[in-house]
Structures are given as structure tokens and as C-alpha cells.
């Protein structure tokens, strides 16, 4: 309850019409951002516990409990995907019907492979980030690329976990045509 209250309180404060419409003073806008960020962080303890419960992991045992983390994908920044050679991505579907979802993860290199929950290697692509993202003030990331894959058929109100790992060497069988300036119309 304590971990949820911080975000509940922030959401309570942010019902104020100034927060809805953006008619607050600058220092109040900064304070709203602070309250929300604190709420997100404290709530993440609750989501970690909930996900571990759904995955039948023993949360009392540190060797089996998974340290789920969330990232600021809006600015393409993620400590886990940028720093780990292998990591897992768990995608939760909040809708009551199955959906497909494209996943984008910021990374430093272009040689990754992704396995679905059954261990089958799935199609991935590595795409360079737009320059405008790299220059966003406050972004603290070395990632210059994103890996993209399709999480298919996510169960209603359920999740799937994908295993991502860095491979040795350079990916040789690229299936895409890299960014090309002013491409010829006949290409």
C-alpha cells in the first residue's frame, strides 16, 4: 500500500485543472514532474512483486525473484538494454484480448538476437536512432540504435517474456537497406 500511495497522491494532485491543461507556473510544472517520477519509482516495487507473482517466482527468495525494471523509452534510454549482454523483456498486455506489439529497445551495438518464450529465434532489426533523439536535453544514454521485434499474440491481461542476447561478430545476413539519403526512385 505504501508503495502505491505515492503515485495515488501524485495522481490526486494532478487532477487539478492546472495540471490537466498546462496552466501552471514553471516551478509547479517541475514539481508535478518530480511527484510523478517519485510515484513511478515507488510503484515499480509493486509491479515487480506483481509480475513475480504472475510468473510464479518465489519473491522471498532473492535467487528466483526477478528484478524487473522499466525504462524511459520516450527518450530511447534504458540502463538494462544498453549495459547487459543478455536480458529478458517481459511484455504485459493490459487489454482483455490478444494483441501484437512492436518492441523497441535502445542499444549500443547492432548484433543482437531475440528468442521467443519457446526459444525460437525471431526476426529482429537494428535501426539507428534519429539525430534529434540523441540531442534531447537531459537524455543520459550512449545508445545510438534500437532493436525492433514483434511480440506476437500477447495473451489478454497476461504477458510473454523474450530473451535478448548479444551475439559475437557482425550480423552478416542483413535483410534491410540502411538509411539512404535522397534515394533514387528506381531503387
Amino acid at each position: 500500500e505504501d508503495n502505491l500511495n505515492s503515485l495515488r497522491e501524485a495522481m490526486g494532485v494532478l487532477q487539478h485543472h492546472d495540471a490537466i491543461t498546462g496552466t501552471e507556473k514553471q516551478h509547479v510544472a517541475a514539481d508535478y514532474a518530480r511527484l510523478l517520477n517519485r510515484g513511478f519509482n515507488q510503484c515499480s516495487t509493486a509491479t515487480k512483486t506483481a509480475l513475480n507473482k504472475l510468473a510464479n517466482n518465489d519473491t522471498n527468495n532473492s535467487s528466483t525473484a526477478v528484478e524487473y525494471q522499466q525504462c524511459q523509452f520516450n527518450i530511447s534510454e534504458c540502463t538494462v538494454s544498453e549495459n547487459e549482454n543478455s536480458f529478458v523483456v517481459t511484455i504485459y498486455n493490459p487489454l482483455s484480448r490478444p494483441v501484437n506489439n512492436y518492441v523497441r529497445l535502445p542499444v549500443l551495438h547492432d548484433n543482437y538476437e531475440v528468442h521467443d518464450p519457446e526459444g525460437k529465434k525471431i526476426a529482429t532489426e537494428t535501426i539507428s536512432l534519429p539525430k534529434a533523439i540523441l540531442n534531447i536535453p537531459g537524455r543520459d544514454s550512449k545508445a545510438t540504435q534500437e532493436i525492433l521485434f514483434l511480440a506476437e499474440n500477447l495473451p489478454p491481461l497476461g504477458f510473454k517474456t523474450y530473451y535478448v542476447s548479444k551475439t559475437e561478430g557482425v550480423v552478416s545476413n542483413k535483410t534491410h537497406q540502411e538509411f539512404q539519403a535522397n534515394p533514387n526512385k528506381n531503387s
Binding site: Q26, L95, N101, Y102, A123, K131, Y163, Q177, P183, K185
Partner: protein
């Protein structure tokens, strides 16, 4: 004629090789000629002494005049042609760029824009919009949603319950767009809709057009209470905003597979507004098998 066509699955778009601007979108079996530009209104600065002298500010949108200024008539363009995705990356200026995405197995075109920091030169604030212009004959009518629920019919320069004289053409026809704005050509049975990932202000100031305001700065307080000009910043610089528009078009009379255009758009809105949550965790060096 200098247009390049790019397709992914059943969706395609064309852009002009010379200008780098979009010229058409094909989806649900219908090709619709379309251009998209980033434009700006200059915010009015007044002494707030009466309504005619009210500044454009945090509470209201009030451009200097009805003129809208083009940020750039051309975009430099880069394309990425992959097996899962096609990306057309457009750079309009050093503070406006955009990626247009076509996904395999998706039924929309994504416009992922990055705008800011807005330059502070020129005295007046700048209120940035993106405008989609089609050839649809829309009879002064467009539609906006109300909190993602009821779709409301809007008619330019008209209110259903009183006689209206509009003195400010742009702001007098702006409406809140919580998640969707659309236009229809009743004669040809065509609809164009733009779904937003956040509430924005929007309008259709000429037939066949949809415009949405995506960022703004204002250098004068509008004297409605905030007591401060709207020039939001972080890290000592004006804000950079990143957001997406999901474009959907087609016939509203025909079925596409087992879906109508409306149900297709509802599906997109649900998946984007209640999108899947992504969590990551390190594996501590375990292989897939060991981890499983």
C-alpha cells in the same frame, strides 16, 4: 512525376523526391493524395486590457492573425527499408524532424515527430501545428472525440445552438482532440482520421484538411491567472516534445476483412492508449535454457 512509392504489407505511401514531402497514402485499398507540413502561428501579444487585446498564453490560443507560416517547404529525407518496418525520416529544420513508419501487419501509418526547442526569435511566440491536406470534399465538417467516447460533429464557423459570428478564424474553430479527429467525403464514402497519443487542439480550417497543434511557446501572460508567460523549459532549454499520430484512411462504407473502418480505428486507439507495458531484467549471464 518525381514521386517515390514505398510499400509494406497492404499499406503504401508516396513522397516527392524533390521536396521530401508526403504526396499520398494507400491503405484499405484506397489511395488518397495527401500532403503533410509543419507550420506555425505567431502568438498575439497585447496588453490584456480587453478581449481584443488579450495575449495568446497558457489559457488561450490566439494567433496574431489567421496567417500560418511554413517552417520549411522541403525536408531532407532518409529511408530505411527493412523486413519488419519501413521508415521514412524527414528533417524539416534543426528543431523539427519526423519519422514516418509503415509496419508489416499493421493497419495505420505512424508519424513520430520530434519538435523543439522552439526558437525564441521574432518577438511573438510560435504555436506549432502539423497539417494533413487531402482532396476530400468535406463540406466544412469535421469530427472530434470527447474523452475518447462520443464522436462530435463540428461545422466550421457554426454552433448548433446560437448564431455565430467568427472574428478569429483559426482559434474560433479549434476544438479539443482527446484521441481522434477525422474528416469524411460523403459523396465518395472516404474517411481520413488521425489518432493522437495525447490530447491536442485541432481543427479543419479548409475542406479536406486536418491540423493539430503539437507544441507552443508564448512570451506574454494572458492575464487569466497563471501570471507567467508559457515558455516551458527543462535543463535550461525549451522543451523538446516527441509524439505520434496514427493515420487511418479508407472507405467508411465497405468492410475491410471482417472490420469496418470505425472498428479498425477503435482497435488502434485501444492498443495505443492502453499500450502494452515493457519490463526488462538482466539475466546474470544465464543462457535461454538456464534462465527458462
Amino acid at each position: 512525376n518525381g514521386d517515390v512509392e514505398v510499400t509494406k504489407g497492404d499499406i503504401g505511401l508516396t513522397y516527392n523526391e524533390e521536396t521530401g514531402l508526403l504526396t499520398g497514402i494507400k491503405m484499405n485499398g484506397e489511395y488518397i493524395p495527401i500532403t503533410q507540413k509543419f507550420l506555425l502561428y505567431r502568438g498575439f501579444i497585447g496588453n490584456n486590457g480587453n478581449s481584443a487585446n488579450r495575449s495568446s498564453g497558457a489559457y488561450i490560443f490566439r494567433p496574431n492573425d489567421s496567417n500560418v507560416y511554413t517552417v520549411s517547404e522541403k525536408a531532407t529525407i532518409e529511408t530505411y527499408l527493412g523486413s519488419l518496418i519501413v521508415e521514412i525520416r524527414q528533417t524539416f529544420s534543426d528543431w523539427i524532424s519526423q519519422t514516418i513508419r509503415l509496419y508489416c501487419s499493421e493497419n495505420f501509418v505512424e508519424f513520430d515527430w520530434i519538435v523543439g526547442p522552439i526558437p525564441t526569435d521574432g518577438g511573438n511566440g510560435k504555436e506549432i501545428i502539423t497539417r494533413y491536406t487531402t482532396t476530400l470534399k468535406t463540406n466544412s465538417t469535421f469530427y472530434t472525440d470527447s474523452n475518447g467516447k462520443e464522436i462530435l460533429k463540428r461545422v466550421r464557423n457554426f454552433r448548433p445552438t446560437w448564431d455565430l459570428n467568427v472574428f478569429e478564424n483559426a482559434s474560433g474553430n479549434y476544438y479539443p482532440v482527446t484521441s481522434k479527429i477525422s474528416i469524411r467525403d460523403e459523396t465518395n464514402g472516404l474517411e481520413v482520421a488521425v489518432l493522437t497519443d495525447r490530447p491536442e487542439g485541432g481543427s479543419s480550417l479548409s475542406d479536406g484538411e486536418i491540423e493539430l497543434m503539437i507544441h507552443r511557446n508564448c512570451f506574454a501572460d494572458d492575464s487569466f491567472g497563471v501570471g507567467e508567460a508559457l515558455n516551458e523549459y527543462a535543463y535550461g532549454k525549451g522543451l523538446v516534445v516527441r509524439g505520434s499520430h496514427y493515420f487511418s484512411s479508407g472507405s467508411f462504407l465497405k468492410l475491410t476483412g471482417d472490420q469496418t473502418l470505425a472498428s479498425q480505428q477503435k482497435d488502434i486507439a485501444q492498443r495505443k492508449l492502453l499500450r502494452a507495458w515493457t519490463f526488462l531484467a538482466p539475466t546474470d549471464g544465464l543462457s535461454f535454457k538456464e534462465y527458462k
